[in-house]
Symmetry: C2
Subunit: 345 residues, 2 copies
DNA sequence: ATGAAAGCGCTAACAC
DNA sequence: GTGTTAGCGCTTTCAT
C-alpha cells in the first residue's frame, strides 16, 4: 500500500468525516459509484441495494465530501454574497430573504463584508472566485476594473443588488437612487417645505440620493441646501451630532432634514426632543429604509421604503433562472421604492 | 486526446476561471508544481521563474482553484458559522467581529441561519460538514443528538457562542443566562421594585434568563410574576402588544417589566407613552442587549449589555489557537454581562 | 530549484 | 441496475 499524507500506522478510523463512498460501498457490497448514485439518483438503484447502502451510511455517520463532488462535477452549489455590512439591517434582511430561497434550492452561502470599499470588494471577489461558487451576489453597480474583469472571466451568473443600471455585469435588481432623491425633493416641496438640509453617510449610493435630492430641491425652491457628511456608516449618535452641527451652522427654522438612513433620522429626532424643538414644526425629518422603529417613533418617521424581502427574493430567482437557462427573467429589475409619509415631515 | 465532460470541439478558452496551474506552467515554461510553489512558497522558486509565472498569471487572469486545493490538502480554509438569524443585530455584530478576524487569517465564511430550531441546525450542520470546513461556530450549547454525533465525528474545532457550559463539544465563549436573569432580579429588588412581569421571545436562552429572573425575584419579593411569551422573535410591535396584554391582565402599577430584548423594551416604552403612562413611575422597564438606541430612548433604557465584539473575537481566537495547537486558550470562556442602569428602571 | 508521480473523493461517460 | 474507467486541479512526497 502506498501511503502519502498518512504515515504508516496512522490507522484511520472509519467514522464521520473520514468515511468515503468507497468505504460505504465495501460495507454494502457494491461499488463506489453505486453509492454515489444512491445519493444523487436513488431511483436508479434497486431498493435492496439502496437499503444496504443507507444502513452503511447510518452506521458510519458518513457525510459525503462535497469538495470532491464540486471538483468532479464543476458545480459547487455554493453562492457567494458580498454585502457592505451584515450589521446593517437593510443588507441583513435582504440576505435573509436571498439565502432562504437559495437554501431551499440546495445552495449554501459564502459571505463577505466589503465595507463600501471597492478594493476590499475586489479582494473578496478574488477569494470567493477561487472557491468556484456557482453564482455571485454583489451589492451595488460600481466595481473596480479588476473586479469586472474577474467576474466576466469567471463566466458565472452575477446579480448586482440595491441599484440598477442599463449595463449590469450580468443582471441587477434594485432601484434608482437618483429617482429616490428626486422623489424625496418633490415630496418635500409638495409638502410645503422651502428649505432643506441633508445628513449623509459615507456610502456612494447615499451620496447619489443626496445629490439628486439637492439638485431637484434647488430647482424647485431656489435656495441653497447645506449638509453634514460622514465618511462612516449611519448611527443614531451621529444623527444627533449632525443636528447639533446643523443648528450651529444656522440651519433655518422650519426646514426639512433629508437623512440617508433611518438611524440618522432617529438621531435627529432624539436631539430635537432633547432641545425642545418641535417636529415637524421647527424642523421636519425624512429618513431612508423604513425600519421597523420608524413607524413607532414620536413623531412617527416619514421614510423611503425599499422592500428588502422582494429584493432578496428577486435576486435569488434571477440566479436560479440563469442556472436553468430560463429567459423569463429580465436583466434589469427595478423593485422601486415608496415614500411612507408619517408625522415627521 | 481523451475527452470526457467536454465534447470534442468544445474548445476551451484560456481565461479567468478556466485556467489551471498547468496552463500557467506551460506559458512560463515550467511544470505545474512550480506554479503551485510560486503561489504557496515563493521563496522556494527562483526570482526569474517567479517573474515569468507571475506574468503568466496576470495575462490570463488565473485564479487558483481552491476546491482542488482543499481536496488535495484536506484543508478548506473555510469556516462555517451557524447563527439563529442575521437580521438580529446581536448575532450580526458578533459575526462581524468573528469574520473580520478569520478573514485576516485567510479564512472565508460559510453562513447559515438556524432560526433557533435544533432541527434546522442539524440539517445545516450536515450540509456544512459536507463542505469540509476547517472549523465551525455554533450559537448556543443545546444541539440535537445527531448534531453532536456529526460534530464529534468530524473531528474539527467547534466553538459554541452566546452561552457557556462545563461540557462544551469543544470550547465555548459566552455568559451564563441564568446568572443574567438572577442579576436582573437582584438589581430590580435592590432598586426597590416589588412587583415584576416578563416579556419573552421564543428563544431558549431568553426563556432561561426569564426563568432565572422569575425564580430569584420570587425568592426576594414573594409575589407572583406573570408574563407574556412569544414564540417568535422580538419586535418592537410585539413589545407594544405585550404591554397591552399585560395591562389587560391587570399588571400592577409600579411594576418592573423584564424584557428578553431591547426591541420588546422599546415597544413597551412606546406603548406606555402612547397611553400616557410614566416610566419608571407607572412601570419600569429593563431590556436586554443594550443596542445603540437604548441609551437614546426617552426615558433612556436600562439594559443588560453583552460585548458582542469581544464575543466574536474571543471565538475567532479560540479557533485559531486550536488550529495552531496552542493550549493557551481555555475551553470555557465567560465574557460576562453588565447591567447598564439608565432612567427606565 | 525543479519535476515526476500519486492520489484526494468524487462525477461523468460508457459498457454490460 | 451496476461496474469500469478516466479524469476534475490541485498538494504531497520523493527524486534529481
Amino acid at each position: 500500500m502506498k501511503s502519502r499524507a498518512r504515515k504508516p500506522g496512522d490507522g484511520r478510523r472509519i467514522s464521520g468525516g473520514n468515511v468515503t463512498m468507497a468505504d460505504i460501498g465495501r460495507l454494502a457490497g457494491v461499488s463506489q459509484v453505486t453509492v454515489s448514485r444512491a445519493l444523487s439518483a436513488p431511483a436508479k438503484v434497486s431498493p435492496e441495494t439502496l437499503e444496504r447502502i443507507r444502513d452503511a451510511i447510518r452506521v458510519t455517520g458518513f457525510v459525503p465530501n462535497a469538495v470532491a463532488g464540486a471538483l468532479a462535477s464543476n458545480k459547487s452549489r455554493l453562492i457567494s454574497a458580498l454585502v457592505p455590512s451584515v450589521t446593517n439591517i437593510v443588507y441583513a434582511s435582504m440576505l435573509h430573504a436571498f439565502s432562504n430561497i437559495m437554501l431551499g434550492h440546495g445552495y449554501q452561502l459564502m459571505l463577505s463584508e466589503t465595507g463600501f470599499d471597492p478594493e476590499r470588494e475586489e479582494a473578496a471577489i478574488s477569494a470567493h472566485l477561487s472557491r468556484r461558487p456557482d453564482a455571485l451576489l454583489l451589492t451595488g453597480i460600481h466595481h473596480s476594473a479588476g473586479a469586472r474583469r474577474m467576474l466576466l472571466a469567471a463566466g458565472i451568473p452575477v446579480v448586482e443588488v440595491w441599484d440598477i443600471t442599463e449595463t449590469p455585469i450580468d443582471c441587477c435588481v434594485g432601484f434608482s437612487h437618483g429617482a429616490a432623491g428626486v422623489a424625496a425633493a418633490e415630496f418635500a416641496h409638495a409638502a410645503g417645505y422651502r428649505q432643506a438640509v441633508t445628513v449623509t453617510a459615507g456610502d456612494e449610493r447615499a451620496i447619489r440620493r443626496r445629490n439628486a435630492f439637492v439638485e431637484r430641491f434647488r430647482q424647485l425652491s431656489g435656495g441653497d441646501v447645506m449638509g453634514v457628511d460622514f465618511d462612516s456608516t449611519a448611527t443614531l449618535g451621529a444623527g444627533r451630532q449632525a443636528l447639533v452641527d446643523l443648528l450651529d451652522r444656522g440651519m433655518p427654522r422650519g426646514c426639512l432634514v433629508f437623512c440617508s438612513s433611518d438611524q440618522f433620522a432617529q438621531g435627529v429626532l432624539v436631539e430635537a426632543r432633547a432641545r425642545g424643538l418641535s417636529v415637524p414644526g421647527d424642523l421636519a425629518v425624512i429618513g431612508f429604509g423604513d425600519q421597523e422603529f420608524a413607524a413607532h417613533l414620536d413623531p412617527a418617521l416619514t421614510s423611503i421604503r425599499v422592500d428588502r424581502d422582494v429584493l432578496g427574493r428577486v435576486a435569488a430567482n434571477a440566479l436560479l433562472a440563469r442556472f436553468e437557462r430560463r429567459a423569463d427573467v429580465e436583466a434589469v429589475h427595478d423593485v422601486g421604492f415608496e415614500i411612507i409619509r408619517r408625522a415627521s415631515a
